[in-house]
Amino acid sequence: MAKAQESKEFSFENTPLELALSELAQDFQVSIYFAPEWVSELTLSGVFSGEKAGEVLLEMLENSSLNSFEIDPKHFVITQNTQIFSEVINGFYRGAYPQAKLKEPEQLPKAALGIALQTKKRSTLLERKLLLVGKQTNYISVNGYTLEGVLTELDGKTPLPNATILLSGTDRFATSNNQGRFILEEVPFGAGELDISLLGYESVKQPIRVYNNGEVALSLAPSYEALEEVVLEANANRAVQEVGNANSFNPEETKSIPLVLGERDLFKVATTLPGVSTAGEGAAGFNVRGGKTDQNLILLDRAVVYNPTHFFGLFPALNPFAIENLTIYKGAIPAQYGGRLSSVFELETKKPNPEKISGQASLGPITANLLLEVPLQKESSSLMVGARSAYANWIFNTLKQTDLENSTAIFYDGILKYQAVLNEKNTIKATAYHSKDAFSISSDSIYSYQNSNLSLQWQKQLKNKQILNTALTHSRYSFGIDYSGTGNNGFKQGYSLTDTQLMADSKLALGERQQWSYGLAVKHYQIQPGFNRPYGPLDLTTEVDIDREQAIETAVYLSNLLTLSEQTALELGLRYNFYTQIGPGQERIYATNSPISNGSLLSENPIGSGFGQVYGGVSPRISIRHLVRENLSIKASYNRAYQFIHTLSNATTPAPNDSWKLSDNNIAPQQSDQFSLGLFSNQGGGTYTLSAEGFYKLQQNLLDFKTGASLVLNPRVEQEVLQGNGKAYGLELFLQKNRGKMSGWLAYTYSRSLLQLDSEFRSLQINNGAFFPTNFDKPHDLSGVFNYQFSKRLSFSANLVYQTGRPITFPVGNYQFNGAEFVLYSDRNSYRIPDYYRLDLGINLEGNHKKNKAFHGFWSLSVYNALGKNNPYSVFFINQEGEIKALQSSIFAVAVPSITYTIDF
């Protein structure tokens, strides 16, 4: 030891730091103390030399966030971020700072790691270790520091976008981007806390201690343990701070909500939101804020889905395993979306796991479902394949009803997604989706309907951080009936609709206060409104082929999210819609002084290959948010929308065979103007979210039909159409508990939805031209979703729904006319069916949470309609031995239990 000091040289090439340190320790015969997890991920390259161990150590740690402290020449302590000072710096962090006054080397690590110890102590409290940011220097920046970070899954690799990272106690927050990266600025020196939340993941409060500009790597655990926390909003603060008001959630969070026959259904969850309801169980579609079911834009990876349900609306037609996220806009609809009046349901499919083969599978009483994610090229391209099918014919085989013995029903859907990162600047995604339902009630007829979608998306990063999104989508919806017949009367009837759309969108931030979005979309529609053909060569069915309809819908939009002050932000959007019918086709001109009928038809002109009727309109989209307090905001919005495609249905509830019709010279586009005003708040540090929002909506040219209209295979359907004004208004109250053993939400809506069908001609009036309630006017609507977590593995959930019964037109008597007896009906919708209520219960049992097991299992047991309430779906009348009798039909008149097993792997 008395030997003269000689310079030692160490050369490393990607050597783990731990190894390098032990080499150093060995060579210099010194002890170096450190926590292995600080160095485990670090490697060292380069040549380091020096006479003393301390010198070399200092050199080696120079580019890391680690500091070294020499206790004595033989003992060194490495600290993370923290610098250990031999004496207290004046004015620095009072009190808690440990000084190196410990003598016994053995105790040194413990003592020297005072902060780490403290962290540990806190970590048991918060289940989160303290994170130290930046290397400590002798200065403190008064402007605070920049904290950059990356948020990933527990694997440390899969980035988690869209998470909210809030600096607690401030209004500063960041949202992680697609790479999981985020930047928080002006983060003050010293202790702080990051409040991180993301749907489907455990919300965490991450204590930090900031010493300098620095980078942190954070990871979140999927909320397996927090399944009860059916969190609608990524973050309570988001609801308060966002300028618009979108609801967004993912299937994972909905998995503990009680199911209908074991099928997980995002849409069913959507109907528990205020302002969203359905006409009844088994009715396709949703009514959003008093709007018709055809006024919702349902997008799957940006392609329109015309019928998102199986089996008349009882089950979702979209595989829940394939969906990453569902976002619902019902009030302040961004300028990016258009073409439908009431809402946007935007579904995004998952990014297939590019790391390893993984997937999910489930087995329920109705369907089997399997979804696989397969990496193709490590970390850059991957594939997702999902398939789901109802057990063929199971449904009707359980029936004892003799007239349905020959009935069969099947449905299935499949999804395929490819995603590839071509290079740093280009990402492409391709999604293909198909769903089909087929059923027959007798051996000679088959009814079917199907959706087919294709979407191609290309994301390109331009200069100055702009991202250009381009998408090409194609959707097709068709339905038909094949009837083989008993004699020579067999026929095939059908309908089909295709739309093809090209879109380009981009965003540009100008300074800190302006964020511009702009884009363009061109859509081509083609509709085959109906055909009827002989089933076989011997059938004498008359061929009917109604003229095809075609149109082009174009839209450009521009919107600017303006931060006016710390409290106030404004989003100003403008969307211009341009619609033109294109040929070949026919344009019918009717006399204006009498009701549209064959009698008033003046001429029928060919459109040729040029443009037919043209419509245009400007849709302003304005929303404003003002933060009254950090946790309380007031928001207002105004929205205008146009809709050029409409469903034709004179039934009281929507059905899969409602065909879509394009606007033409006789059927004007629908228009809607909506005003909304709301208060959004969170309380208890984000434990509770509360909101109250009112809306008022005026609609024009809503489509309805003459009493007794005939729409199937009608080549002049405009003669059956009535167009009128709609008026809807309501107040939506929402209370959500986001955390804790008990969680869930309660939504109450009071709303009205009214329609006016007036005309100068008496025969075109309904209810004498006065406003009357629509078929889906349900003034009181209460929904509750509750969850109670007994243990990490066992949770209980309940679902409560109460709604005013929907309006109905009743037969009120008979009358004699021309020697025959006819039924006299009341005015349209002047009665209501009884109120609807339902309670569902569920128990969810998780498999154990051991790491590294092959798969994770999940049992869910639910009882739908646990009270066995016989809620009428419709009321109708039969003539039983000369006596008119009122009967009701219901979809679920008894409690329906089911059990489903799901695995994740």
Partner: protein, 410 residues
């Protein structure tokens, strides 16, 4: 044709209601409605067709009625007049069953429009919109043809051919069909119960007093028969199917007749009937959920235009014809259809030892289930001596009227 009308929609709904519902219930999915239904107000119902026939024109006035009632209350003591656009006024007088007849016979004329004015006994006034007479059309011919229908059933079709000027393209058909019925087990005698006591029964075989062997059945169409020629190049109705009768139908057993009226309708009248037809189809199918509603005709209450008034004041041209059909003319050499039911002979006992009210024969006579056919000479072994037959085999008045229609030609 019928199948085409059973649209995809209603079949879907059928499945939805029956299949879906029952599947998920595994028990009664259709139950009695538990809610309340509002009572009906009595709405004025106006009927009647002013035609181009020179006759006493008729208007029918009644009220709608609730389901518990079997028929309407007729509107009495109303003042009914029809005003023509040339200033001519026709007054109507009341006859039984809500029928109001014009004081003088008259025919609706082309080029004029007519308005119906009604003042009820309570002083409420109603007026129709002015209705013009469409150009007269002609029912050219009516014929019966042996055919096989869509379902592969062999039988006869009654077909109509009509024509009209180019501007009269809407047609409605109405018919009354009649057929001869001969009770196959008719006997000239009746068995009657003179008295029934605890220990004594007095039965008598007497002459039948009314005609019960030969009767005439009649029926009207079950649906509104409408056709339009507006999409055709010539204004001709060719072989419009009015009625299909299966070869097995007893209507064809002896002799069948159908009298058809062809009405030429205005556009407005045609549209009204179309809706009426669709609405009544909807009410026939209990599974249909097509949006029903009140069907407003062309009558308005003057004091309150929003008051509901059912029915329609129709001004139409009419042309009529009648044909007779014999089975052997269409299916020569083939066996005509049998009687409407299989006839069963029985010989129930008078059961003198049974208590009053439990005697099978007597009870059957009281409730008109059987008629006397003759003496049981072993046709019904072990039975009593009274050979009885079910009422509709021994008495044709159970199926039709014993009054021969005045147009009937044998």
């Amino acid at each position: 044709m019928a199948l085409f009308k059973t649209t995809y929609l209603s079949l879907l709904k059928h499945l939805k209601k029956m299949g879906l519902a029952c599947l998920l219930l595994f028990q009664g999915c259709i139950t009695d409605y538990e809610g309340t239904i509002g009572g009906s107000s009595e709405v004025l119902v106006v009927g009647g067709i002013l035609t181009n026939e020179f006759k006493k024109q008729e208007i029918f006035l009644s009220r709608s009625y609730s389901f518990e009632n079997l028929g309407p209350r007729y509107e009495t003591e109303a003042q009914v007049i029809v005003t023509a656009s040339n200033g001519q006024t026709y007054s109507f007088y009341e006859t039984p069953k809500g029928v109001y007849k014009s004081l003088e016979p008259f025919a609706a004329q082309e080029g004029l429009s007519y308005q119906l004015e009604i003042t009820t006994v309570t002083g409420d006034a109603y007026v129709s919109s002015p209705m013009g007479l469409p150009p007269p059309t002609t029912l050219e011919s009516l014929h019966a043809k042996a055919t096989t229908n869509d379902q592969g059933v062999s039988g006869i079709s009654i077909l109509a051919n009509g024509s009209g000027p180019a501007n009269a393209t809407k047609f409605r058909y109405d018919f009354e069909e009649n057929w001869k019925i001969i009770a196959p087990y008719w006997s000239p005698y009746d068995l009657i119960v003179r008295s029934e006591g605890r220990t004594q029964i007095n039965l008598a075989v007497v002459d039948r007093e009314t005609e019960e062997r030969v009767c005439y059945g009649s029926a009207r169409p079950e649906q509104v028969l409408l056709t339009s020629t507006s999409s055709l190049s010539r204004n001709e109705v060719v072989n419009f199917p009015l009625r299909f009768i299966s070869k097995e139908n007893y209507l064809l057993q002896h002799r069948y007749s159908i009298g058809v009226k062809q009405y030429g309708l205005s556009e407005e009248t045609f549209a009204y009937y179309q809706t009426l037809e669709r609405l009544s189809m909807a009410s026939e199918n209990i599974f249909s959920e097509d949006q029903p509603g009140f069907l407003q005709g062309n009558i308005t209450a003057i004091a309150d235009p929003s008051e509901a008034v059912a029915g329609f004041f129709e001004v139409s041209s009419v042309s009529e014809k009648r044909i007779f059909v014999n089975f052997e003319d269409l299916f020569p050499g083939e066996e005509p259809p049998g009687y409407i039911v299989d006839c069963l002979l029985s010989a129930p006992g008078a059961d003198i030892n049974a208590p009053v009210g439990s005697r099978v024969l007597l009870n059957a006579i009281y409730s008109n289930l059987v008629r006397y056919y003759g003496v049981n000479r072993g046709e019904v072994p072990g039975g009593s001596s009274f050979l009885m037959v079910s009422a509709n085999c021994g008495d044709c008045t159970t199926l039709g009227s014993n009054i021969k229609p005045n147009f009937w030609v044998d």
